[in-house]
């Protein structure tokens, strides 16, 4: 017995097409991983074919032959295979056309894949930059070396307030402001880094939102500049190279 003993009887029933239900499901599942049972099933199907030979009886009537030949005459084959002689000239062309179609298809697929890869690489670079920026923000906010400056107006409420957090070594500056007065359309606030030596350095132009809040996150600054103070002036909205008096807010290190 080449097949597994516990399935031997069911294999014979499956070959006959009479195995049903759970028994059939279990056997078919077993056969997926059992070449021996698959081979035995094929042999048993051959055995069932032998049974057909035991059938005997009269020959079919002549009308059956005529009926069949009439039917096939009325039903030309949809997929007639051309004779070899005529196909010999035509086949290379068919093969060439098929090759070109396939080549075109794969080229288009390849082109699409290349575009997709480039797009994903761009997205990856952007995400990496955003991640680095976020890390830098957190690092600046939590740095023990950071100089923390609160800027207040001398006027009565609502009191505008600004807070600058600056790490000199990394030239990293975060500025948060609230209660700022809104400005005319062509005007904007400009933040200045006042170094211990030298002229004020522009540190970002900004406009407050409807609630008077504004932020400046890591404006471009020269590295290693020691800040004496931070100040805010009102400038044209494109910003200025030097502050325009008066200074509306100012603060030194805490």
């Amino acid at each position: 017995m080449s097949a597994h003993q516990q399935f031997a009887d069911d294999l014979a029933l499956l070959a006959l097409g009479t195995l049903q239900g759970d028994e059939r499901v279990a056997l078919e599942k077993h056969m997926e991983g059992c070449p021996a049972c698959r081979r035995e099933l094929e042999r048993l199907r051959g055995d069932t074919a032998l049974l057909a030979l035991s059938a005997s009886g009269p020959k079919p009537p002549q009308r059956s032959r005529e009926r069949l030949l009439k039917a096939i005459a009325q039903e030309p084959r949809a997929k007639k295979i051309p004779a070899r002689r005529s196909s010999s000239n035509f086949m290379p062309w068919l093969a060439a056309v098929a090759f070109l179609l396939l080549a075109g298809f794969f080229w288009r697929q390849s082109d699409r894949l290349a575009q997709r890869v480039a797009q994903l690489q761009d997205e990856s670079v952007q995400q990496q930059a955003q991640l680095e920026r976020a890390r830098e923000v957190v690092s600046t906010l939590t740095s023990t070396d950071a100089m923390r400056v609160t800027l207040v107006a001398a006027q009565t409420p609502p009191q505008p307030q600004g807070k600058a957090i600056y790490v000199r070594e990394r030239a990293s500056l975060i500025f948060l402001a609230s209660n700022l007065v809104s400005l005319p359309p062509q005007k904007a606030y400009e933040l200045w880094l006042i170094p211990t030596n030298g002229a004020p350095i522009p540190a970002g132009v900004f406009k407050p939102d409807a609630r008077g809040s504004a932020t400046v996150i890591q404006p471009p600054l020269p590295a290693g500049v020691e800040a004496k103070a931070f100040a805010i002036t009102i400038e044209p909205e494109q910003g200025s190279a030097t502050p325009t008096m008066p200074i509306v807010m100012m603060g030194t290190g805490e």
Binding site: Q20, R45, G46, D47, A55, P60, S64, I81
Partner: protein, 170 residues
């Protein structure tokens, strides 16, 4: 397998030759299952038309045509007998069988061997095998009909098939 190639090429005379060679076998199987000439003629027509429409369903590398037609015919006739839709596609039927049924003399010798093997079997075994094959009964139905245990019926059917195989292995 030049006849099948002819049919694949749409050659009607190849179909006529193939019919002349195998129609007796196909008709005998259909008539044995259905027991009625009109229904057997319908199955005969259906089986050959299926081959005409889809000759690629028969893979000469995986069985001989006579055995394949016998199995297709039996399955279609059982479907008709049990008033059910055809359960298997003809392209899914693979028959691996030893005797070459293309030759009339070879086919005749094979028939004699099979009939001899059936005659030589215990009556209960032959009966179980024929009920399963020609009536399409499940082992449960055969057990209910004969009053024998299920396991006994299963074993008889398997042993009967293997007895047929041994005739051709000897």
């Amino acid at each position: 397998m030049s006849l099948v190639w002819g049919i694949r090429s749409g050659d009607k005379s190849a179909m006529a030759t193939l019919y002349d060679r195998y129609s007796s076998l196909v008709y005998a199987v259909a008539l044995r299952v259905l027991g009625e000439t009109g229904a057997a003629e319908d199955v005969l027509q259906e089986v050959f038309m299926q081959l005409w429409r889809n000759p690629a369903a028969f893979d000469s590398g995986r069985g001989n045509l006579g055995a394949w037609l016998g199995v297709i015919t039996r399955n279609r006739a059982i479907d008709g007998l049990r008033k059910r839709r055809p359960e298997t596609d003809i392209a899914d039927v693979v028959v691996s069988v030893e005797p070459d049924m293309a030759d009339a003399a070879e086919r005749s010798r094979a028939m004699e061997k099979v009939r001899g093997a059936l005659v030589g079997m215990p009556e209960a075994q032959r009966s179980a095998l024929e009920m399963a094959y020609f009536e399409g009964l499940t082992h449960t139905e055969i057990a209910a009909k004969t009053g024998e245990p299920l396991g006994t019926i299963k074993t008889r059917i398997r042993a009967g098939l293997q007895a047929l195989r041994k005739v051709f292995e000897a």
